[in-house]
């Protein structure tokens, strides 16, 4: 079965859909957690602490988090590798373009590849920025509230985040609906509902994530 899936364009697409949905699920939770920042450092840092003690005493400290991290890394890698391989194949399948070009498909659909690249770069930047603090001057390990506020003091970092969040919205807008088709969940009757859900999810995540940098910039969070 694994061979069948990995050798097939339809199979690879399934891997992308599943990994994409896993990441999507994580992001919904992540966004929800991020919004706790508006309730002050206590709530937010407490939440971060809770994340690390999740599942105790069955799990040890940070075990649950590492499991989530492992799943996420697997998802990102699988998603990225499939995206890369399929994209190369797709480009090779259309070696000559049309002389007469015209606008095709929707914006979200056309920007999936570039959006994906932006997201990949963002994820790396984001981890160096807020998890390891490598790229952040005022990083204090174990104090996420402080770190977030510090991070968004730089206007250019806000730009990076906001652009990435817009890319995320577009990616999800097509991605969620697309994943439903890949997994065979779509149908003529359900198409409207799926498209609406995709739009709402995209909007919710984009707005929810952007709220944090905007909150810091406007001084709502400090």
């Amino acid at each position: 079965m694994a061979r069948t899936v990995w050798d097939s364009t339809v199979g690879k697409k399934t891997v992308m859909a599943v990994s994409g949905l896993v990441m999507l699920l994580y992001l919904v939770v992540h966004m929800y957690g991020n919004l706790k920042i508006f309730f002050g450092p206590g709530t937010f840092d407490g939440y971060a602490h809770w994340l690390r003690t999740l599942g105790e005493p069955f799990f040890h400290y940070e075990w649950a988090l590492w499991i989530i991290r492992a799943a996420l890394v697997a998802a990102v890698v699988a998603h990225g590798v499939c995206a890369y391989q399929l994209s190369r194949r797709d480009i090779a399948s259309r070696p000559v373009g049309y002389v007469h070009t015209r606008a095709r498909a929707g914006y979200a659909t056309r920007t999936m590849r570039w959006g994906g690249v932006i997201l990949a770069l963002f994820i790396v930047w984001h981890i160096l920025d807020l998890t390891t603090g490598t790229v952040q001057r005022g990083f204090v390990p174990g104090h996420p509230y402080h770190n977030v506020v510090a991070a968004f003091h730089d206007w250019w970092n806000n730009v990076i985040y906001i652009v990435a969040m817009l890319a995320l919205g577009l990616h999800i807008r097509h991605g969620f609906w697309s994943a439903a088709q890949t997994l065979g969940a779509g149908s003529r009757r359900r198409d409207r509902a799926l498209k609406t859900t995709a739009n709402l999810l995209a909007l919710l995540l984009t707005a929810g994530f952007i709220a944090v940098p905007v909150g810091v910039m406007t001084g709502l969070v400090s």
């Binding site: 079965m1 069948t4 899936v5 050798d7 097939s8 364009t9 339809v10 199979g11 690879k12 697409k13 399934t14 399929l86 194949r89 797709d90 480009i91 090779a92 399948s93 259309r94 070696p95 000559v96 373009g97 049309y98 002389v99 007469h100 070009t101 015209r102 095709r104 498909a105 659909t109 056309r110 999936m112 097509h174 609906w177 697309s178 439903a180 088709q181 890949t182 997994l183 065979g184 969940a185 779509g186 149908s187 003529r188 198409d191």
Partner: protein, 249 residues
């Protein structure tokens, strides 16, 4: 009508190709697009130039032979085949670009003619029901519920023209393949080979060098027979089901 045509000319598969410009005059709005090309070809022939090669046969939108990308759109601006497109869809003085289907799995044979034998090989890999002549039971032995019969018919309408591939930015044959898979898989007669059919056809489609599907939807927009995009979804469902089922046995 007076028109300027820019047509892809290519002597054979290995030769380089380029767009050539031709002016045509006295075109009637009642002409079909192919009849307009006939007029050009008659003139080129008499002038001793080689006429433009293009595929066509039935000229009534059913054989699937005609295959022109007109102004960047497979089969041109109307939702029909190139042969059923009429010149009244254009305006006097227009410049029209005519190109062949573009896809790695559809190499150019000459000018606007491409090789679509990859489609035949997809069908050969499983797009049939094994029912040798003489083995058939009485036709009424298995009633087919009308919804299933209608779904089968809707998908069976595909004429194998390849416009879906031509329109797809990935040169993907998903819509064509899914049309046949769904036609046969919804019927009780097609049930015994349901799993192998979809697995083999998708594998062959990949082996032919068609691209993957990113659900762009251009294919369904270009399809002259209105094969719906949900056809692809349904095939994905069949494929996943078959993958699970086959791995269990």
């Amino acid at each position: 009508m007076k028109l300027t045509l820019r047509i892809w000319r290519q002597h054979d598969a290995d030769a380089p190709g380029a767009m050539s410009t031709y002016d045509v005059d006295g075109i009637s709005p009642d002409m079909s697009f192919l009849e307009m090309l006939d007029t050009l070809n008659e003139r080129l022939t008499v002038e001793g130039e080689e006429p433009v090669a293009f595929d066509h046969d039935c000229r009534e939108g059913i054989c699937g032979a005609c295959s022109l990308v007109i102004n960047g759109e497979a089969h041109g601006p109307e939702r029909t085949t190139s042969c059923q497109l009429h010149m009244r869809s254009f305006r006097d003085g227009d410049t029209i670009d005519v190109e062949p289907w573009r896809a790695a799995a559809f190499p150019v044979v000459r000018d606007l003619v491409v090789d679509r034998s990859s489609f035949d090989r997809i069908i050969q890999s499983g797009g049939y029901i094994t029912a040798p002549t003489g083995s058939a039971p009485e036709a009424h032995a298995t009633p087919v519920p009308k919804p299933a019969a209608d779904t089968a018919f809707e998908h069976a309408e595909c004429i194998g023209c390849g416009a879906c591939v031509a329109a797809c930015p990935n040169g993907s044959a998903m819509l064509f393949t899914s049309a046949k898979v769904n036609h046969l898989n919804v019927l009780p007669q097609g049930a015994p080979e349901r799993e192998t059919r979809v697995l083999d056809m998708v594998a062959q489609m990949d082996a032919e060098g068609f691209g993957g599907c990113t659900l762009t939807g251009e294919c369904a927009t270009a399809c002259p027979k209105g094969i719906p995009l949900t056809s692809i979804t349904a095939m994905n469902r069949e494929w996943l089901r078959a993958t699970r089922k086959v791995s269990r046995t």
